[in-house]
C-alpha cells in the first residue's frame, strides 16, 4: 500500500464519519423539535402560573421578568383545594382499582374459559367502545339518582368501574399466555380463580401498569361526570375546583395555571413510576405471543 492509497482511505473514512455525524444531527434536531412541541404547553403553564395577573402583554414573553410565587398561595386559598384533592384521590383510587380488578378477571374469562355466547358477548363489549360518553351521560345520571347516589363517592365511581377497553387489553394479554402453564396449574390442584390469582395475576404487571396509567389519567382528569353528579362543593373534584377560575367575565389565568400545575403532579409521578412496566408490556407481548 503506497502513500496515495493510505491518504485516499483516510479521506474515505473521514467522509463516512462526517456523513454519520450529519445524519445523527438531523435525527437529534427532529427529536428535539418533537420534544419541544410536547414540552411547550407544560412550560407555558408553569411560567404563566408565575406571572402577574395582568399578563396580557404584547408581545407575549415566555419567562416572566418577576416571579410571583404568591400566585400559588392565592390559588390554594381561594377554594378548599385540600378537600378537592382528597375527593379526587378517593375517586381515582376507586376507579383504578375497580377497573384493574374487574378487567383482569373478565379478560381472563374471555381469553380462557369456554362458555356459550362468549364470542358474541365479547363483540357486544367491544362495540360499546364506539358509544360516546355523552350518549350515556343522562341515562347514567338517572340511574345514579335513582339509587340515591348523587353527591356520593359511589356515585362518582360506579359508572366507570368497568372498562371495555381494559377487558379488551387483558383478554389480548392473556390470550398469549402459554396454555401448558394453565393446564399444569389445573393439574396442580388450582381452581379457575386460583389460577387467576396465583399464575395470571403475578405475570400481568405490565398489563396492570398500562391500564393503570390510562385509568388514572381518565379518573384524575374527568370533569363532566363529577360536575353533573355533584352539587355539594364538599364533593367536588380538583378539575371542578380549577374550573372556578374561569368565570363568566374572564379567566384568571395565573391562578388557574398555578392550580393546574399542582393538580398534574400526581399524574406525572404515576407515569414516571409505571412507565418501565408500560414499555415492558410491548416487549413482553411480543415474547409471550
Amino acid at each position: 500500500m503506497n502513500e496515495r492509497d493510505i491518504s485516499q482511505a483516510t479521506v474515505r473514512n473521514l467522509i463516512k464519519r462526517i456523513a454519520g455525524i450529519v445524519r445523527r444531527t438531523w435525527v437529534h434536531i427532529f427529536l428535539l423539535t418533537l420534544g419541544f412541541v410536547v414540552l411547550m404547553p407544560f412550560l407555558w403553564m408553569i411560567t404563566t402560573s408565575l406571572k402577574p395577573l395582568e399578563l396580557m402583554r404584547v408581545p407575549p414573553h415566555l419567562i416572566p421578568t418577576h416571579f410571583y410565587w404568591q400566585n400559588y398561595a392565592i390559588a390554594l386559598e381561594s377554594a378548599p383545594f385540600g378537600r378537592y384533592y382528597l375527593n379526587t384521590i378517593i375517586v381515582t383510587i376507586g376507579i383504578v382499582v375497580g377497573q384493574l380488578f374487574l378487567s383482569s378477571l373478565a379478560g381472563y374469562a374471555f381469553a380462557r374459559l369456554r362458555f356459550p355466547g362468549r364470542n358474541i358477548l365479547f363483540l357486544v363489549l367491544l362495540s360499546t367502545l364506539m358509544i360516546p360518553i355523552y350518549i350515556t351521560l343522562i341515562p347514567s345520571y338517572l340511574i345514579i339518582r335513582g339509587f340515591g347516589l348523587v353527591n356520593t363517592y359511589l356515585g362518582l365511581i360506579l359508572p366507570f368501574l368497568v372498562s371495555a377497553f381494559g377487558i379488551f387489553l387483558f383478554r389480548q394479554y392473556y390470550i398469549g399466555f402459554p396454555k401448558d402453564l394453565e393446564d399444569k396449574a389445573l393439574m396442580d390442584g388450582c381452581s379457575r380463580l386460583q389460577i387467576w390469582r396465583h399464575i395470571f395475576l403475578p405475570l400481568s404487571k405490565p398489563a396492570f401498569a398500562t391500564l393503570g396509567i390510562f385509568a388514572f389519567l381518565f379518573a384524575w382528569n374527568s370533569f363532566l361526570w363529577p360536575l353533573i353528579v355533584t352539587t355539594d362543593p364538599d364533593m367536588w373534584t380538583i378539575q371542578i375546583g380549577l374550573a372556578m377560575f374561569s368565570g363568566r367575565y374572564g379567566t384568571q389565568w395565573t391562578y388557574l395555571m398555578a392550580g393546574t400545575t399542582i393538580s398534574i403532579i400526581p399524574a406525572i409521578a404515576i407515569f414516571i413510576i409505571l412507565q418501565k412496566y408500560y414499555i415492558k408490556h410491548l416487549a413482553l407481548s411480543a415474547r409471550l405471543g
Binding site: 393446564d183 399444569k184 389445573l186 396442580d188 390442584g189 388450582c190 403475578p202
Partner: protein, 365 residues
Amino acid sequence: MAKLVIKNLVKRFGKTTAVSNLNLNIKEGELVVLLGPSGCGKTTTLRCIAGLETPDEGEIWIGDTLVNDMSPKDRDVAMVFQTYALYPHMTIYDNLAFPLKMGKVPRREIDVKVKKVAQMLGIGELLDRKPTQLSGGQQQRVALGAAMVREPKVFLMDEPLSNIDAKLRVHMRAEIKKLQKDLGVTTIYVTHDQIEAMTMADRVALIIEGTLQQHGSPSDIYNHPANTFVGTFVGSPPMNLIECSLIEMNGLLSLEFGGFVYKLNKNIVGITEKKAGGSELVLGIRPEDLTLHLNQVEGSYEGKVSIIESLGRESVAYVGVGADILKIFVPKTLGFSVKVGDKVWVSFDEDKVHIFDKKFGKILI
C-alpha cells in the same frame, strides 16, 4: 401406584376423530410408551387421562376408580409437559412446592418433601433461582421434580425430552427410566421417537391415526409387527416391503415379485393358505435380515446398488431388485468394496420373513 385401564376411548374434535376406540391395559408400576407420528392422537389420549380433555365415549379407570367425571386435581396424576410449564414468576423451590401448597400440605412437610426431591434430582443448589436462569436440562429436572413431589398414582409425560439436545437426551432417558423403576409409579410416556420408546418402555403402544396398532414389549413390536404400519414405523432404516402375489408352481406355493419367485417353505405355506384372503400379498423383511453377496449364491436375487448411505458405524445399500428398492446393511467383511452401480446378489433370512395381506396390511405370518 395403580393400574390404569382405558376402555373404548373415543375423542373427536369437530369432524376429525383424534382417538378412535382405544383400549389399553396398563399394569401397576409399568412404564408404557405411547408411540406414534405427530398428530396420531397420543397426546390427546394422555390429556384425556389427565382430565384436561373430556372423552366423547369410553371409560378411564385409575386403580378401581372411574375417573371420567373427575377434575384433574382429584385424579391423583401428575404430568410433565413438553414445554416444562414452570411458573416463570416463582423460584424453583416455589415451583416444586406449589402442588403441595394447593393440596394444603403443612409447610414443614412441604419443606421436607421439596428438599428430598431436589436432592434426588441433583437440583438442590438451584432452589433459589428462577426458571429462566436455568439451562434446558435443569428445567427438565425441575419439571420432573414438580411431578414427583406429589407422589401421584400415575405419571404422565408428554414428550419430555424433545426440547433438550441429543447427548443430554440419551442421559435423561436412562435417568427417567431408573427414577421410574425406583419410585415404582405407573407411567405413561408419550413420544414420536422410536428409540426412546424401544429403550425406555416396558411395553409400547403404537398408535397411528388415532387407532392402536399394536401393544406389546419393545422386542415384540420389533420382531413381530402386527401390520405394515408397525413394521415400517419401528426400526431404522424401516422394514423393506415388497408387493407380491401368491402363485402355485409345480404344486408348491411361491411369491412372485418383479419377475422373481420366492419359494415358500412348508411351514409358512400352511399358515398362509389358511389366512390369505386373496393372492395379493406384501412381503416384509428388515434390512438386517437381508444379506448382500458380491457373487451369486443359491436362492439369491440379482440387483444393482443405487445409493450407499453411510451411518458411520455401518452403511446401508439401496439395492434395486426388480421394481423394488431394498435397503440392506452392508456386511463389515465387504467394507468399501461395494460401490454405486455394482451388480450384487441378495438373499433372505427365511425365518425373518413377514407376510402381510395387501388390502389391510395385516400380518399373516
